[in-house]
């Protein structure tokens, strides 16, 4: 028998979904701005969601049969839709206000060490706070801190950054099996931990790095190797006896710096990969390259990878009725970021690289290949002699 589809209206857009779908998944079916952000929900992990409260929405009408509104804001990731439900997300100021509050709560104990965090550039919390947070904090106390712990040879746990989304716990339960870590203590001193300093050894445990929305669980084989936006994502595969072997390589020149699972447009892993693929196969010859990964144009990872990227069409003049708006700075006229192939240059990029002198490279004292990458001219921001 064919199931009757349920009609649900989210921000005045109506969509038909199967019974049992949550509001968040219905919104993802619509796509675009009406999708509530999710920090803890992961559609591929059963039981996840409901904890971070960033996906709160207002249910203005419960269903066609019972059109009363729900008294509180509900977590859209865990609330199933009813036929005729009316949901307000970005159209309701109370929802945006509550979300702003949640972002503030998530950030008060977050270290904001993005400049040294490996997750920066692909961090869900970074995106969330740019989109929904405020620029300043009202928190003026000492932040909660923890020691960094190496849990096993591949994964480092930096609990200070954790937002306790429980995703890694569900991953260890449902993907890896034989879970050896969990949440200990309660309240604001709750922490992800193994009981008495165990090492996580399951052959699928590396996936916790991919599901982690922040930089709390990081890849020890990639730590401080490079910023993600300097590496070039490439889809590749190999014949793996344990997993499907479909991965994404993050390359710099011919070096594979990092291997991760492929993620879909919601930042969720498509196929879980095993530890061997993730941590051991770091040579191009191990993989069959499929081609560059398509990324969202707005992603910082996209910056500087592909030459001849089509510049976006300017709509100002048509929208403004022919009048030319007075812009303080036109980003497209001064930024040449997309015209430089970072793979061509050796060493970190500097301002010089983008100002015509494409071969100019900075000098990085921590670069192990210093001899190769060093710049005799010393075009370095730390050097006052720089032309």
């Amino acid at each position: 028998m064919e199931q009757k589809l349920l009609k649900v209206t989210i921000d005045n857009i109506t969509v038909e979904v199967e019974p049992g779908t949550t509001i968040l998944m219905a919104a993802r079916k619509i796509g675009g701005d009406v999708v509530p952000p999710a920090m803890c929900f992961y559609s591929k992990l059963q039981g996840s969601g409901g904890k971070c409260r960033t996906c709160l929405v207002k249910v203005a009408a419960g269903s066609a049969a019972d059109p009363r509104p729900m008294p509180k804001l509900v977590a859209s990731c865990r609330t199933a839709v009813m036929d005729g439900m009316v949901v307000e997300n970005i159209t309701n100021p109370a929802v945006l206000e509550a979300r702003k509050g949640v972002v503030e709560f998530l950030l008060i104990n977050h270290p904001l060490d993005c400049p040294v965090c490996d997750q920066a550039g692909e961090c869900d919390l970074q995106d969330l706070s740019y989109e929904h947070g405020s620029e300043v904090t009202r928190y003026e106390f000492k932040r909660r801190t923890f020691q960094r712990i190496d849990i096993g040879p591949y994964i480092q746990l930096h609990m200070t950054r954790c937002i306790l989304c429980y995703r890694c716990v569900y991953t260890a339960d449902q993907v890896a099996g034989n879970r050896e870590h969990g949440v200990m203590d309660r309240g604001d001193h709750a922490q992800i931990a193994t009981y008495i300093q165990k090492a996580l050894g399951n052959e699928f445990i590396g996936n916790v790095i991919d599901v982690c929305p922040v930089g709390a669980l990081t890849d020890r084989t990639f730590r401080f190797k490079n910023r993600v936006w300097f590496t070039k994502p490439v889809d590749a595969h190999r014949d793996c006896p344990t997993c499907k072997g479909k991965v994404r390589l993050w390359m710099r020149g011919d070096d594979v710096l990092r291997v991760t699972a492929r993620k879909d447009q919601w930042g969720e892993v498509e196929d879980w990969i095993c530890n061997e693929c993730r941590f051991e196969k770091k040579k191009v010859s191990d993989w069959v390259i499929e081609g560059p990964t398509r990324l969202d144009r707005h992603s910082v990872i996209n910056a500087g990878h592909y030459v001849n990227v089509v510049k976006p069409k300017e709509t100002f003049t048509s929208v403004m009725d022919g009048r030319q708006p007075k812009l303080l700075m036109d980003i497209h006229s001064i930024s040449d970021v997309n015209t430089v192939d970072l793979n061509e240059i050796q060493g970190p990029a500097t301002g010089q690289t983008f100002n015509g002198n494409q071969m100019a490279v900075g000098h990085n004292p921590t670069d192990l290949k210093a001899g190769k990458g060093a710049n005799p001219k010393g075009t370095d921001s730390t050097n006052p002699e720089t032309p």
Binding site: R53, A75, R78, V102, F105, F141, R186, G187
Partner: protein
Amino acid sequence: MGRKLLLDKAHIEGIRYYDTYRKNGGYAAVEKAFKMSPADIVEEVKKSGLRGRGGAGFPTGLKWSFLAKPEGVPRYLVCNADESEPGTFKDRYLMEFIPHLLIEGLIISSYALGSHRTYIYIRGEYAWIVDILEQAIAEANQAGWLGKNILNSGFDCQIYVQRGAGAYICGEETALIESLEGKRGNPRIKPPFPAVKGLWDSPTVVNNVETLAAVVPIMNIGAEEYSKIGIGKSTGTKLISACGNLNKPGVYEIDMTISVEEFIFSDEYCGGIANGKRLKACIPGGSSVPILPANLLLKTAKGETRMMNYESLADGGFATGTMMGSGGFIVLDEDQCVVRHTFSLARFYRHESCGQCSPCREGTGWMEKILNNIENGKGKMSDIDLLWDIQRKIEGNTICPLGDAAAWPVAAAIRHFRDEFEWHVTHPDEAQIRNFGLAHYADPIKPAEAIAGI
């Protein structure tokens, strides 16, 4: 003298033991109940108008009728004896002195709901009460009130006592169920409600100790008569655990027809404020409900006398009213500092937050730190508005009511005692030496002023 239904036999020596309890008319309600059908008992409880005594005041009969009854799936009754609300100690008294009343209520309720395995989840700190309950259950077993084929009705029932490990959050019904299953006591996300998917994914009813004990008098005197006691929708009797600066703190059974003033000042109940001091403020329903200053406590914003029942205490909403809650009646005299008191509560909720959802986990700690600053003379005027904003962003945005419970006391303290908070900020040194005192908090207020609230 109000009528007593729960504690009427509490004074009898040896009532804790089966023989004395039975001789004084105990277990008559079970005999009566087993002659009725389970559906009739549920109907009877519905008719009695009994409301949950744990805090929310949800009608018990209605809760029972929501219980799903799918074929082949066991149903469970769980007694919530995880009484951890600061200021509430009524269940302890009931279980310590008349354990058989609870056992009797549990047998009737189990029969009504079809629960063959019934659990008492008791807080770990009540270690000695576990022994008392275990003994009472053993006695009831021996006398044939528990076990197989009770009173030849073909109904089997057994009661088990499970100790918690000292977490306030495990008093929330879904966290209690998680803890009972042996997991970390994190509240579940509702729906599904326990009535559909509770303990081990089976339909479950979780009720407070006092609620289940109240089923016994309902059976004994009949729903009709029970519903006549009290006023309106507040039927029956309620145990109030009074504490704070009172001449006679303790557990009192009231029939919800008396006024708050009578309860505090009459010799039959609390006997007035200790040491001849004056009343400053009161939290009438356990630490989670909003605090009220003396003027709003004794009279509602409309100028009526405030009564000790669900409706009258909630009169005026949160702007000028409060809640019946669990009946933890905390009285503050003129020497008490509301800021310090609020700080102490904020510290409690910070400590007891389970850490699952972000507003509660981060917000409770933040509020505690700000209140600590204000209390210790390091506060700023903007901190008061910040506190207000934080509590507003916690309230209603959390998984379980602990977020609300943490937000309400702070909100009410700022709403009614803002002067005192401001005085702490403007007079940091003086605030270390003396308290703000009674100030104007007992002055009669003009109705219009009170209704405006904040």
